[in-house]
């Protein structure tokens, strides 16, 4: 899978899961609020029913007091009646307030109230009649009033039953709604959590995969590094045995041909001596090749010990050595603003020896050989350039320039083994810098190298 897509998927999965969880939290909160409200409504219904019972009880109390008075003429019953009439208005008012939320109930309660008022008026009238006139129970007017009172009571009962019924219906509806809501909330929470868990699992799985692939990459890198370490060690032991074993036979070839020359030169003609000298010059050349190769191997092995280098001093020192070595005292040297750099002194000295001796060697054939060295600052690198007005090289073969044993000139023209620039490149690259060269054939060449401005961290 494309790593970018994988990362996007992981992030998306996480985000979706988090959004879902937040949604569930919100849902749980609002549904709990609803639930609390619903519970209040249930309580409310019970309060209404209790209040209705109270009013009904008041009216029944009033009626039974009325009956007791009619039967016994005892004033004690009148007191009970008065107590009931006192309580009734406030109880009725409470009932009205409690049912204010529902229009149907309000309507029913109003009608109920009217009936109750009628009933109370009827009771009041009957009691007054009894007290004032002391009428007999057989009086038709009185009987009619009693009958009417009974009918009113019946009506009140029916109305109370209706209010009760309505309230119970409301309660059932509210309970049902609450139940439904609770069920859907539970479902939502369950489903939401499941989806969130899936998304988190997906993200987790992707993350695990990512971690595993990184661990694999790291193991691979470590294996490569240790392989490299082994290769380096093998190269080291190879160069060690080269220095021992390859030199011994060479020394014998050179020594024995020389001994042969010493002991038998009087028996050899000129051609014999020439052939012998070819053997010797080639064995010397082979010795030089081995020495250079060893130096190349060592340049890659020596740990870098960075220190500040005064390039002005170092270049002057190397220049004296190179000019003396190549007997090129007529070569002119021009130094321009040489910056100090932080690098390995011995290795940079080797770089300068190789580059300067090349510059001198390839410009020696010119009438006015001249070498110019300058430095400059490019971002976090210091750049040094060595320019000569020598024979130059063909840019078509640039890719061979820094190769080991690669030469762009014949050994007859300019002696050398083709290791110098390879060593230069190796040392500079190990310092974290770069090397390059440019040339116009016959007019001269410029070789440059860059070194980090700050101290390199590794060897």
């Amino acid at each position: 899978m494309n790593p970018v897509i994988k990362q996007l998927l992981t992030a998306l999965g996480m985000m979706a899961a988090m959004t879902l969880l937040a949604g569930i939290a919100y849902l749980s909160y609002t549904r709990t609020e609803h639930f609390v409200t619903s519970s209040r409504w249930v309580d409310h219904t019970y309060t209404v029913l209790i209040q209705l019972d109270k009013v009904t009880a008041d009216i029944k109390e009033a009626e039974s007091s009325e009956r007791g008075y009619l039967l016994t003429n005892d004033l004690h019953f009148l007191r009970l009646y008065e107590q009931a009439t006192e309580k009734l208005p406030s109880d009725m008012k409470k009932l009205q307030m409690l049912t204010a939320d529902n229009p149907l109930q309000q309507h029913q309660v109003t009608a109920f109230n009217a009936s109750v008022q009628d009933k109370m008026d009827s009771i009041h009238a009957i009691i007054n009649m009894k007290r004032d006139n002391q009428r007999l129970a057989t009086d038709p007017v009185f009987l009619d009033m009693l009958d009417k009172g009974k009918q009113l009571m019946q009506e009140i009962r029916v109305q109370a039953a209706s209010i009760l019924n309505t309230e119970q219906t409301l309660l059932r509806q509210r309970l049902k709604a609450m139940e439904d809501e609770a069920t859907s909330t539970r479902q939502w929470i369950l489903i939401g959590n499941l989806i969130a868990a899936c998304m988190l699992l997906l993200s987790f799985w992707l993350l695990i995969k990512e971690i595993r692939s990184r661990a694999r990459a790291q193991r691979h890198a470590e294996a490569t590094a240790s392989q490299l370490e082994i290769t380096n060690r093998e190269l080291e032991s190879f160069s060690y045995s080269v220095s021992h074993d390859l030199r011994a036979p060479l020394r014998a070839i050179d020594g024995y041909s020389r001994m042969f020359e010493e002991d038998y030169s009087d028996k050899l003609d000129a051609e014999g001596l020439r052939l012998l000298s070819v053997v010797r010059s080639n064995s010397r050349r082979m010795g030089q090749l081995i020495d250079d190769l060893l130096q190349f191997a060592r340049s890659g092995r020596k740990p870098i010990e960075a220190e500040p280098i005064n390039m002005q001093t170092l270049i002057n020192e190397v220049w004296q050595e190179v000019v003396a070595d190549q007997m090129a005292h007529n070569t002119e040297l021009e130094l321009q603003s040489l910056l100090t750099v932080h690098a390995d002194h011995a290795l940079i000295r080797q770089v300068l020896i190789n580059l300067l001796s090349n510059a001198v060697k390839y410009s020696k054939t010119k009438p006015h050989p001249r070498v110019t060295i300058r430095s400059s600052h490019h971002r976090d690198m210091v750049v040094y350039e060595i320019e000569d007005n020598g024979v130059g090289f063909d840019m078509r073969y640039y890719n061979k320039l820094f190769g080991v044993f690669q030469r762009l000139h014949s050994a007859d023209e300019f002696p050398g083994t083709g290791v110098g620039l390879a060593i230069v490149q190796r040392i500079i690259v190990r310092h974290g810098g770069q090397v390059w060269g440019k040339s116009t054939l016959g007019e001269g060449s410029i070789f440059g190298f860059s070194l980090p401005w700050k101290e390199p961290h590794h060897g």
Partner: protein
């Protein structure tokens, strides 16, 4: 080798050609008959400590031991270590004459008390010059204790 004749230079060298060239160089400065050539480290130890084939040789220490590094059986480092460890022999000047210019070989030799370290040049003239200089200095000019 004549038992009566005193060995001045012990040449320990496994390469026959190097040995011949070394002897030729030493011959040029008049050191011919006092040279004893041994082919490996074991022979060198046998000679120096008068054991094995050299058990009955006369008690006399050479003025110089020219020692190669890489040899079969016992190498030059081992021989150097044995010689410099022993009270009897540690005064004998030992000069390494080897192909190795490796820093670790040089350091190791000096740690063990070598008197000089010489890298054999590939070029014959140079080789002859250096070997004869060393032979001249250590076997002729240099003064060592005589009581041994």
């Amino acid at each position: 080798m004549d038992d009566m004749q005193q060995v001045q230079i012990l040449l320990v060298e496994d390469s026959e050609t190097d040995a011949e060239m070394t002897r030729r160089a030493l011959k040029k400065i008049g050191l011919t008959n006092e040279i004893l050539w041994l082919k490996d480290g074991q022979e060198a130890l046998d000679y120096v400590f008068r054991q094995g084939a050299f058990e009955h040789r006369a008690k006399h220490s050479p003025k110089l031991i020219l020692l190669d590094l890489k040899m079969p059986r016992v190498d030059g480092i081992e021989v150097l270590q044995q010689i410099k460890k022993s009270e009897e022999t540690r005064m004998i000047p030992v000069v390494m004459l080897t192909s190795s210019a490796e820093e670790r070989d040089v350091v190791k030799s000096y740690e063990l008390g070598v008197n000089s370290y010489l890298v054999k040049p590939v070029e014959f003239e140079q080789f002859v010059e250096e070997v004869s200089k060393v032979g001249c200095y250590w076997a002729i000019l240099n003064k060592i204790p005589q009581y041994q």
